[in-house]
Amino acid sequence: MKKSLFGLMAILLVLMLALAGCSSKSTNAGSTGTGGGSSGSSAKKVTKNNKDITIGVSDNFVSLDPHDTNDTLSFSAEKTMYEGLVGFDKDMKIVPVLAKSYSANANATEFTFKLKKGIKFQDGTPFNAEAVKANIDRLADPNSKLKRHSLFAMVKETKVVDDYTVKVILSQPFGAMINNFAHPAAMMISPTALKKYGNDIAKHPVGTGPYKFAEWVPGDHLKVVKNPDYWQKGKPKLDSITFKPTPEDGSRIAMLQTGEADMIYPVPTEQAKSVNGKNGISVVAKPSIIVRYLSMNVNKKPFNNVKVRQAINYAINKDAFIKVVMNGYADPMKSVIAPNTQFYSEQQPYTFNLAKAKELLKEAGYPNGFTTTLWGSNTSASTKAMEFIQQQLAQVNIKVNVVPMESGTMSDKIWGVQDPKKAQIEMYYGGWSPSTGDADWGIRPLLSGDSFPPSSYNTAYYKNDQVDSLIQDALKTADPTKRKAAYDQMQKIIWNDAPWAALDVDDTIYATHDYLKGAYLLPDGSLDVTNAEIQQ
């Protein structure tokens, strides 16, 4: 008995020693800034001999009903199974998908779609004008209580003109409507399946897409398989795709290194460099449409003075911000929206200039600076950003108290405010991704006079009548030249008013094994795998 005891003890000890050995190495790696992933360099290069891939993602899927989804991750999965009338290409430009062509009337109240013929849903239901009407009616009906109803709330009526022509009539002009149709929320669900499952469609997705639903074990994995009857010849090129939610960054990277995952996203910026180029793994970073900004409550002293706001813009070194906070995976912002957003117009950046910042503060009557509070979320990335801002503004004698908040608390503090005058918010560090890819959704919710909390996200409480009327002008027409003119002027005015210190445009970052080609992230952070294939 004693002997077996010792045997067990010995095993335990060996294990401990092995762990201890492993540990010292990794702490070293951490301190030199190469991250935990560096020890994976001894891992073998993984090869692929089948066409089933696994994608490691950062969170659980919430729903598989596109009309009732508001997280980009669920959209990524849905986009393998569903398609819309129109969609976004690699650069968020609108392209026809199930529609052959589309047109709008001059005042943006009527949108007509000509549909492609011969397309079937995965359950055999033909795709036609009736199917489109069933989908738009569902989205437009407030009683359906769908999360994406707001994108279609202005639809008055959907008319079937003939089998392959649909006309959508709006109750008021809405020039950005075609972008709402391109939004993944407007993807088409089989009307037969909708009738059969009702809102349970979230668990039984049926679309026209290249992959069919196979199984979903919430919290563990979601699997889709090749749709053999897909209408685009030669696609899809993979047999199946399995999505595995892996919330912990380090674990997601390990999954990629072992070959359990063929692709992962997002890749934490701290670890991106340490895995890139090793063992057949590539990290790909591309500009997104996600912007990071520092909003200032323009109703409050000292931020009611435009010189103070401009001074803060000059006092923050954006290049350093990108290097320190984003590990280099970002670009400086040159307008309040990102370049990949439609109707973007570049402005003259506030280049880092401490002397100018100090001078502006002096002119505004704050030669000795002031003390203020900065709110933001309590994630480590956001806290790091806020501390960076604190350090930058200290250079011009502005003392910033950083207050990181848990999401629920923050939502109470910011969106629990009914009267703008009582808002306690001073400075706020936030981010925004206009999911429709249009300037309207990049500007109106954040900077229009109607968007004060709690109704929307104007945490700067910025209101400029000229901007507000330009927003309306841009919505009243579907004519791109007229819309562009309005957005050009609007962006210029806002930039000069400086209700924000515009910080950066994030990169989307994913990593794949080199044998996986054609899978990529769109600037809105959603995945496109329709062209993905395995190439050895």
């Binding site: 335990l12 809102n199 074990v217 892996t246 919330p247 390990a254």
Partner: protein
């Protein structure tokens, strides 16, 4: 004994009612508006109000509580605000992975902990004791988050023996249960050591040694049985915590269990899921307590139940 168990089981009911009130209030006191989180980032104020109404969150708290209790009595734990699925199904799916993982961790932790503890106590101040206790101290102090990532680097990335996470085969259990169990094994080892050393000083141990009993029989049959009582209490508690969702380990190993469900639900203010999980954890704790009490009686028949 049977009568005692039945009475204790009945006694759980009023406790659960009190707990349910606390859970309900506690959940509703967490800051954050679930209606806004449900409605999503792009929602307008009207959308949020509509969602609040449809969820019944606009009603007075007391009325919400009675609806909650009424539903529970009908076996309905509600519908998740986030996924719109019945909470009962969500918990049922996540329960077994957490149960098996916890059982496996506790079993190996008890075996390893007892062995190290007994050896340390009997070889007091010798090298076996020092090694055992050094290992135990490191086991207690290693954060399971870090430990999890390290065993993953070693066994998955470098050696390629085991999967990094998820739940696919028996292999998936090894790394998470190792990570979860290590801390517990260490605590058990320390408890066993000190408790056994106390007992070894007792008169009856001296008597049985004087009688000429084998040392091994003295320790394993006589001394250890008495020394085990505090160890059992502690193990019971630890097991309760494990079942309550080993949040960190489940996150590191992407485990489809209750701990991760809890974290996701709190982040989303998914009231029905949080409430149901907290009730379930309370019930588990009460049951484990009962099991611990029954084990006392088995270990030491002098403890009587009336």
């Amino acid at each position: 004994m049977l009568k005692y168990i039945v009475r204790r089981l009945l006694g759980i009911i009023p406790i659960l009612i009190v707990i349910s009130i606390f859970i309900f209030l506690f959940v509703h006191l967490i800051p954050g508006d679930p209606a806004r989180l449900v409605a999503g980032q792009d929602a307008t104020a009207q959308d949020v109000a509509a969602v609040r109404k449809s969820l019944g969150l606009d009603k007075p708290l007391i009325q919400q509580y009675f609806t909650f209790i009424n539903h529970i009595l009908h076996g309905n734990l509600g519908t998740s605000l986030k996924t719109k699925q019945p909470v009962t199904n969500m918990i049922a799916q996540r329960f077994m992975p957490t149960l098996w993982l916890s059982l496996l961790s506790i079993v190996w932790a008890v075996i390893a902990g007892l062995l190290v503890g007994v050896i340390s106590a009997t070889k007091r101040n010798k090298w076996q004791d020092f090694t055992g206790m050094a290992a135990a101290v490191s086991g207690i102090s290693l954060p399971s988050f870090w430990l999890g990532l390290m065993v993953m680097q070693l066994f998955s990335v470098k050696l390629g023996w085991l999967p990094t996470g998820g739940l696919e085969s028996w292999k998936s259990y090894i790394l998470p249960s190792l990570t979860l169990g290590l801390g517990i094994a260490a605590v058990i080892a320390r408890f066993t050591r000190s408790s056994l050393m106390e007992v070894l000083k007792e008169d009856y141990v001296r008597t049985s040694r004087a009688k000429g009993l084998w040392e091994r029989k003295v320790i394993w049959d006589h001394a250890l049985k008495n020394a085990l009582i505090p160890v059992v209490t502690m193990t019971g508690l630890q097991f309760g915590f494990l079942l309550g969702g080993s949040v960190v380990v489940e996150t590191v190993f992407s485990w489809p269990g209750l701990g991760r469900l809890m974290i996701d639900s709190i982040a989303f203010r998914d009231y029905p899921v949080i409430q149901a999980e907290m009730l379930l954890f309370s019930l588990e704790f009460l049951l484990i307590n009962l099991i611990v009490d029954v084990l006392y009686g088995i270990l030491n028949p002098q403890i009587r139940y009336n």
